[in-house]
């Protein structure tokens, strides 16, 4: 088995709310292997986005970080800003959900793609510009030469997301973190962007960490999946196992709530709602909504070991 490219060990992220530290991410561990797509899936507020941000230590000072994010033998969380500059945008890159707000409206597409090349690779602007042209070809934007001089508002949503991907790929990163990259797009454009990301991953041999709430997207692009609920990583598995043998009661319940375009079936909602972060239960955080909850759930279970790991007392023996 290949060794992981990045190891996340017991990562916790806390914010101070009303003078108490509340854990938004509650001690999670996972690995990112070379040349794979890892999907982190969960509903709003489960901590998937701040987990992604923490992989590059992109969190505000108000956040208290615990645990380690080991990349290339070093702990990213204990790096200084200066050291991080050598990694962010060059060895680990990120693309966001809403390309309009993450692109600079007053710079041309060409300038924005060229910028990381100048900053990280020390290229001249003119070399960087011709490399930017190649990158636009890579993300399949037609008329690349003309597009270089355009501003973000002149592009459609799908084109903007392609530009974001081009910026992310500019320095040939080893890991591309994509936070809901297709959520704001129409399905036909989503399909184009997902196919593009998958082709690029195969060609360039990079790893993609995709944050999404859409289990349909997960089933179609992931190699491995990590399911999060209320700051806990509740289950992680190869994608086929997760959909055919979901183990955690939350994963099982979640799969029954997703309406499918190919068949009608009775949706089974998960009763109740995610507890507010200030009053998370001490034990398993899903217990208040779990149909299988029992006394043992008052103490938080650990994630089991192995490729298909579950964090649930009811599953400890079975998996």
């Amino acid at each position: 088995m290949t060794s992981p490219l990045m190891k996340v060990e017991d990562l916790s992220i806390s914010f101070k709310i009303e003078d108490r530290w509340c854990r938004a991410v509650n001690g999670i561990s996972f690995d990112i292997f070379p040349d794979e797509t890892l999907c982190i899936v969960g509903e709003s507020g489960c901590g998937k986005s701040i987990t992604a941000m923490s992989l590059m230590k992109l969190l505000p000072d108000a956040a208290q970080l615990g645990g380690k994010v080991i990349f290339d033998g070093q702990d990213i969380l204990s790096m200084k800003e200066k050291e991080l500059e050598g990694i962010r945008g060059s060895r680990i890159a990120m693309i966001f959900q809403e390309p309009m707000t993450s692109l600079n409206p007053v710079l041309t597409v060409g300038e924005q793609i060229a910028e990381p090349l100048v900053l990280h690779k020390g290229m001249t602007w003119s070399n960087a510009r011709s490399e930017a042209r190649n990158l636009l070809d890579l993300v399949r934007i037609p008329d690349a030469e003309q597009r270089l001089g355009q501003y973000p508002h002149e592009l459609s949503g799908g084109m903007r997301q392609r530009v974001m991907i081009a910026i992310g790929l500019a320095c040939r990163p080893e890991i591309l973190i994509a936070d809901e990259p297709t959520t704001a797009l129409d399905v036909t454009i989503q399909a184009q962007v997902l196919a593009l990301l998958d082709d690029i991953r195969k060609d360039q041999g990079l790893s993609i960490v995709m944050i999404t709430h859409d289990l349909g997207v997960v089933a179609n692009v992931a190699d491995r999946v990590a399911v999060m609920y209320a700051g806990d990583l509740v289950e992680t598995a190869p994608v086929a196992d997760l959909f055919t043998k979901p183990s955690h009661p939350y994963t099982q319940a979640l799969l029954k709530t997703v309406p499918r375009a190919d068949e009608a079936f009775e949706l089974l909602p998960i009763e109740g709602q995610v507890p507010p972060i200030q009053s998370m239960p001490d034990g398993c955080r899903f217990a208040p909504r779990c149909v299988e909850a029992h006394d043992a759930c008052n103490v938080a279970p650990d994630l089991s070991r192995g490729p298909h790991a579950v964090r649930c007392w009811a599953r400890v023996e079975r998996v």
Partner: protein
């Protein structure tokens, strides 16, 4: 089944009028000759990508924007021909639920006040007299009665959408127009709200016009569906038949691009090239032809008309799928 709502030949053109200006006028046709009907107790879905005119359609049905052409027959009365006073009366019977319950509820008003307003506007009812009906409708949507004195910010997205549903229900409408009403919700909550809407329909026998971009939701919630592309209906029919055997290549592309949460159905999501054209500058002939894998010469020249098939379906295509 009798038709509750019949929309006939509806069109909507947005544009500037020339006034003391040398600039040429421009216009955007957002809706083009749209006709459909909704039976009592039926749920009709409208799907399509951004900019296809589905929200304009919803707003035209409610006359929130006035359609340029066409008629809206509601329970036998032509809404477009009514004087403002009678129109207002009819409006109590058609209600709307919006996408974003954060912006559609007034943050400075208690839930009780928000729910009392339709009763005051339409029936002149005072808050005190309205209270029993407010409490009853809160029960119906599964919200605690204590919500009456609370403000929207005290509730989660799913709860707010329940409140928005309560507001739509309080006038006991016959038709509810729901514009992407579950799109902003997490799936576990979305399922709760969909089941609530279905239960309400069974109990009250009302109809829904359900605008969404999510084919999964359509499949599980609607009886019939209209597929729109660039302002026109390109295909319509019963949900099951339409999605399992689409006639129009656009419907097929849309369906094949929708990711299914099932690894055994994993596929390279069938790719539709290109993007939806600008409605300000629509293509000649069939609006879908620049992206259509089956397009031929006639598609570039002539826009196909909607043709009916025997099984309550219709489609507008020169070379439909088998």
């Amino acid at each position: 089944m009798t038709d509750l709502l019949t929309v006939d030949g509806m069109g909507k053109t947005f544009g500037t009028k020339r006034f003391l200006s040398m600039k040429p006028t421009y216009s955007v046709t957002a809706l083009r000759n749209v006709s459909f009907s909704i039976a009592k107790g039926e749920t009709v879905g409208v799907v399509g990508e951004s900019g296809c005119g589905k929200s304009t359609l919803a707003r035209c049905v409610l006359d929130l924007i006035t359609p340029t052409t066409g008629s809206v027959l509601f329970d036998g009365t032509d809404l477009t021909a009514l004087d403002p006073a009678s129109k207002r009366k009819m409006r109590g019977r058609i209600q709307m639920i919006f996408q974003d319950p954060y912006s559609s509820l007034n943050g400075k008003r208690t839930i009780g006040k928000t729910l009392a307003e339709p009763l005051y506007v339409h029936q002149g009812m005072k808050f005190k007299d309205a209270l029993p009906r407010i409490l009853a409708v809160l029960d119906e949507v599964g919200m605690p009665r204590s919500a009456v004195d609370k403000y929207p910010h005290e509730f989660s997205g799913g709860q707010r959408q329940r409140i928005a549903i309560a507001r739509a229900l309080i006038l006991e409408p016959d038709l509810i127009v729901a514009d992407e009403s579950v799109s902003a919700l997490d799936v576990s909550v979305q399922a709760q709200v969909l089941l609530l809407l279905r239960r309400i329909q069974q109990e009250r026998g009302l109809s829904y016009l359900f605008i969404t971009h999510d084919l999964g939701v359509v499949r599980n919630f609607c009886d019939r569906v209209l597929v729109m592309y660039l302002g026109s209906i390109v295909e319509s029919g019963p949900v099951g038949a339409l999605l399992s055997n689409p006639k129009h290549p656009y419907t097929k592309s849309l369906r094949d691009a929708a990711p299914i949460p099932d690894v055994s159905k994993r596929q390279s999501l069938a790719l539709l090239e290109g993007e939806i054209p600008s409605p300000a500058n629509p293509p000649s002939g069939c609006a879908f032809h620049p992206r259509c894998p089956r397009a031929s010469e006639i598609c570039r020249r002539d826009a196909p008309a909607l043709q009916d098939t025997h099984d309550q379906r219709s489609f507008a295509c020169h070379s439909p799928q088998d």
